[in-house]
């Protein structure tokens, strides 16, 4: 374990715009994240995956400022330093079916340029933390969807990242695994910044210390899960289909208010 190397803000995004050829994914988004577990909510097409890719240093902003772990991503050395301290799990991740779980995680430990002496222990610890220790030497093609997802999480956390980006990490996990996973997130979020993009509002309510809601490429809400739930209390009576739990009602209310603008 190394001492935390980031003081204060892990992610600082100002007026971020990302445009593809025929579509604008992010339209002036602002976001500041410190250590802790942050939820990123939003409807499909809101720009969550694009934001994750920008923070994961693989998509370039069209304009705006992005600082990750205190670095501007412009120069080669800073980029490399940031990438060593990054954990990333995309929503759809490919894997090599003939690799064992251990080889898969080891491979990414190597790609993240961890010192080779520390790799074996770190790999084992990561596999243990996601609860795959008994399957560590099984080939990936023999694992179920939920186990694959956990192997993906293991590669993301193997280098004790200072910034952990997880896109829909609970897809395919059963309820018990989701509970374990939330514990893991909270443990990592003590020192690191964890950003979880999800459409499962209840995951956010339980695991996250803060929630950002993205709609139409902008941040439309930022606060604690309780504050999001409170936003739903003032919804006009008689409004139907606004959700079953307080936080779902809050989510719907904020979105509807934003659309009405």
């Amino acid at each position: 374990m190394t001492a935390p190397t980031t003081l204060g803000t892990h992610v600082e995004v100002r007026d971020l715009v990302v445009r593809f050829k025929n579509r604008t994914a992010l339209e002036g988004l602002d976001l500041n994240l410190d250590a802790g577990v942050h939820g990123l909510l939003g409807p499909n097409g809101a720009g969550k995956t694009t934001l994750m890719r920008v923070l994961g240093t693989i998509a370039r902003p069209t304009s705006g400022q992005v600082a990750v772990l205190g670095h501007d991503l412009g120069n080669q050395r800073a980029l490399r330093d940031v990438r060593r301290r990054l954990g990333y799990l995309p929503q759809h991740f490919g894997y090599y079916p003939r690799f064992t779980v251990r080889e898969f995680v080891e491979y990414f430990a190597w790609l993240k340029e961890m010192p080779s002496a520390s790799i074996p222990l770190a790999v084992d610890r990561a596999i243990e933390r996601v609860g795959l220790a008994d399957r560590a030497d099984d080939r990936l093609k023999r694992l179920s969807g939920g186990m694959l997802r956990r192997a993906g999480i293991a590669q993301a956390i193997v280098n004790d990242p200072d910034l952990l980006l997880l896109d829909e990490p609970t897809a395919g996990l059963d309820p018990e695994q989701r509970v374990d996973f939330r514990h893991l997130l909270r443990a990592i979020g003590v020192d690191a910044c964890v950003l979880v993009a999800t459409h499962l509002v209840e995951d956010v309510a339980v695991a996250c210390t803060e929630v950002s809601l993205v709609n139409g490429g902008r941040t439309v809400f930022r606060g604690t899960p309780d504050e999001l739930a409170a936003a739903g209390e003032h919804a006009p009576d008689g409004e139907l289909n606004s959700g079953d739990s307080p936080i779902e009602r809050g989510y719907t209310a904020v979105l509807r208010a934003d659309r009405a603008r």
């Binding site: 001492a3 935390p4 802790g36 990438r83």
Partner: protein, 280 residues
Amino acid sequence: MTWHVARPTILAYVDGDAAEADAWSIEAHVTDCERCRTELAAAAADDPALAADLAASRTALLAGLPPQGRIRRGSPARGLRILLASGPAARGPWLLATLMVLALAIGLDLASSGAGLLGSTAPVLVLLAPLLPVLGVAASYGSGLDDAHEIIATTAAGGLRLLLIRTTAVLAVTVPATIAAGLVTGLAWSATWLVPGLALTTLTLLGGTVVGVTRAAALVGGGWALVVAVDVISETTIALLTGPATPAWLAVFGLSAAALVLRRAAFNHLPTSIRPHSEA
């Protein structure tokens, strides 16, 4: 968190001079407060006595761990094996194709006694061998083919470094195989078909910085096929395929390798053509 530990108190705590009540209060506070924890760690970072203490307890802790069971020892050999085993599934078919093309070239050259085919005077091996590493590079790095490319792109070693390692692996297969094929057909070792292969490989990588490795391989391969077609149709061996052209191919190799180093930053990001599969 509404309050933070004052700097003098942190320094006193690190030196072991803090009052007992203060020390308790700090310890309770830092379990919840990242900022003070980081500050405390930074203040204690350059205390040699503390560092020695930590190193000693770490050693003791590691010595006392239970046997590691199935943990694999890290070794360069294991690292290399995993590195080479990883990569797109397209590499298996490419390896097969390489062997088949070489076998075909050997067969045709033996049948025509090295005199060429279809009016071309160049041996078939000279025409086909330079394409093999180009296809290999496309098969082992093209981002559409590597399943894990999106995670790999976020890692420190995932750009040019990984590409060069995979290219080296491709060359480590094609170069000996081509030389062996040359020996079998009796052409013996000749730079005529090795150097163009290297030059086309670096050209592909350089093109990859602009249009992506897969497309660059298609362009370079297409260009080479055009040269071969002209050669076959014109019924004279064109200069590009003969021994005297070797220095020119060497120059292409050197220049494209240098340009590749200058343009290495292009491998830092996903190609812009790759969009989210489905925004969720």
